[in-house]
Amino acid sequence: MIQDLVVHFVYIGYALGVLLTFGTVLTWVERKQAAVMSDRIGANRAYVRIPFTQIKLVWWGLFHGIADGLKMLLKEDWRPRTYDRYAYAVAPWVVFTPVLLVFAVIPFGGTLDPGNLLQAMPAAAAWFDGHTYPMQIARLDAGLLIVFAFGGISIIGAMLAGWSSSNKFSMLGASRAGSQMISYELVMGLTVLGLILIYGTLDLNVMVQRQSGILLGFLPAWGVFYQPFAAILFMTAAIAENKRIPFDLPEAESELIAGYYTEYSAMKMGLFMFAEFIEIAIVSALFTTLFLGGYNLPFMADAGFTFPGNHVVPMAHGLVVVTQLLVFLGKVLLMSSFQILIRWSLPRFRYDQVLVFAWKFMLPLAVANLSVTAVAVWALTP
């Protein structure tokens, strides 16, 4: 009982640390990657001076994140004269909190066996009494549903922010956010249904374990090889959900100043930005889990590697845990980088094009993909 609590507190601490770190580091990655893509150097002037010396640590501009955070915290918390002050104050949190909560069901590692890890300390090992814990904060059999349930809440936050600001630009941004996010949530749900049919489960951890097999004798059994169409559609819909270029209509600077958070300043505005960057990591984590074999390397499972041709390479438990944690972070970072690549390559859609794209192009494709998958699963399942 106490053991479960300890392990889960460790998990929650790890997840929060990873998410907040990704939130700050991705601001730096976004700046630097955009700069390198366009033959520039990027932000590199913020430094930390070691006290009492003239040694200035620049570290490729990594400290610009700290400078940004300090600026957000120290700025005046300006409030508009709005009729709904409570909704105005609560909206950033309604956007920010669900983004963090989604990570609760995403597995960031395989099964942890503390007794095996703590062999050097027999007393501690005995205390865990042979219990094993999947590396996931909440192991729910409805994992994927939870993801969509929490994803839906942040729409309410954006609408609340736009509505309670009593500003026309905010209102326009909020209505755009609402219509766009609801449309793309539908597409996202339909693309994932194909995977649910194939894996026969909503539990994300089980989905990852099903992906450690072999497909057609030589491919890793990743979701992206089962459902390549769904992977592309899911990524597109997820970027639209996150309201980033090319789908950043709700906050289009050139049209709406900052869209639904025009009237926000200081750390409240910072929360919106932070939520956006954490959501990049969340979308990447979700894509990794669903389509890229999650925390496992190709052909890897909790016991070790099983290569095509039945070559088995067993691994020690400690090594497996470390590998899985690192592989998950690496995949998430790669996918985040890919999203940033998209964000700095494509121009923004027109507002009507966004909705036409969702309803006339992506939705039929998603339905077609789902039908074909359903027929194939029905025909191929013995």
Binding site: Q33, A35, V36, M37, D39, I41, L341, S345, L346
Partner: protein, 223 residues
């Protein structure tokens, strides 16, 4: 009430797209390959120690496309003993169209050949137009211009002045036709000139009022 149905205007330059372009995804992939390729190329340059950007650090670096004849910074030449060649005649200050040179003359009884010297010589780079007329006007070859640009970007105009010490302790990077400032007597490149120096002259560089430690007044690019 009758409503006219909305007819979308057809533009004369409406794009004609093939089905390949209309499918959208392939063209996006092509675009991503271009931007991703630029990213990988530049990252490869950075990782192998080369510069993967077109940006020039200012003021640490000189732009590669500066003209060969560009002169961006003044220097004051020195006598062999390290004092300025300038005789404070004020001709440069008089000819200067931007009126940026300020000179205070003083009297040095110890140097009978050149009793007049500048006790203050300052140039305001926030107004200097780099025309080079001061060099033309100088009868003593006391002021010259070099290729470097002064490291003076600042939010305050009062910080964009160079004074006598900074002008005379120049660290030549390209314009080294004359061996100024001379080294100490032992390693001197011009022993004859050293021998002809005034008896009252101070040979010891460290004793010169304008000498600064080698590292302090450096204006070259930061490492």
């Amino acid at each position: 009430m009758t409503r006219k149905p909305h007819v979308r205007k057809v533009y004369w330059n409406a794009p004609t797209m093939t089905w390949w372009e209309r499918a959208y995804l392939f063209e996006i992939l092509r675009g991503l390959l271009i931007t991703g390729g630029v990213f990988l190329r530049n990252m490869g340059k950075w990782m192998t120690g080369r510069k993967g950007a077109l940006t020039t650090y200012y003021p640490e670096e000189t732009r590669a496309d500066y003209a060969a004849g560009n002169r961006g910074k003044h220097i004051l030449t020195q006598r062999p003993d390290g004092r300025p060649q300038c005789i404070a005649c004020n001709m440069c200050a008089t000819v200067c169209p931007a009126k940026v040179i300020e000179i205070d003359a003083a009297f040095d009884a110890g140097d009978l050949a050149h009793p007049k010297y500048p006790s203050r010589f300052e140039i305001d780079y926030s107004r200097c137009i780099f025309c080079g007329l001061c060099i033309e006007a100088c009868p003593e070859d006391a002021i010259r211009m070099v290729k470097e640009t002064p490291a003076l970007p600042s939010g305050n105009r009062d910080h964009m002045w160079l004074n006598l010490t900074e002008l005379i302790n120049w660290h030549p990077q390209s314009d080294v036709a004359k061996p100024y400032p001379p080294r100490d007597a032992v390693g001197s490149t011009h022993p004859q000139r050293d021998a002809m120096a005034m008896p009252g002259g101070r040979r010891d560089e460290a004793a010169s009022p304008y000498a600064v430690p080698a590292a302090a007044g450096k204006t070259g690019p930061a490492p």
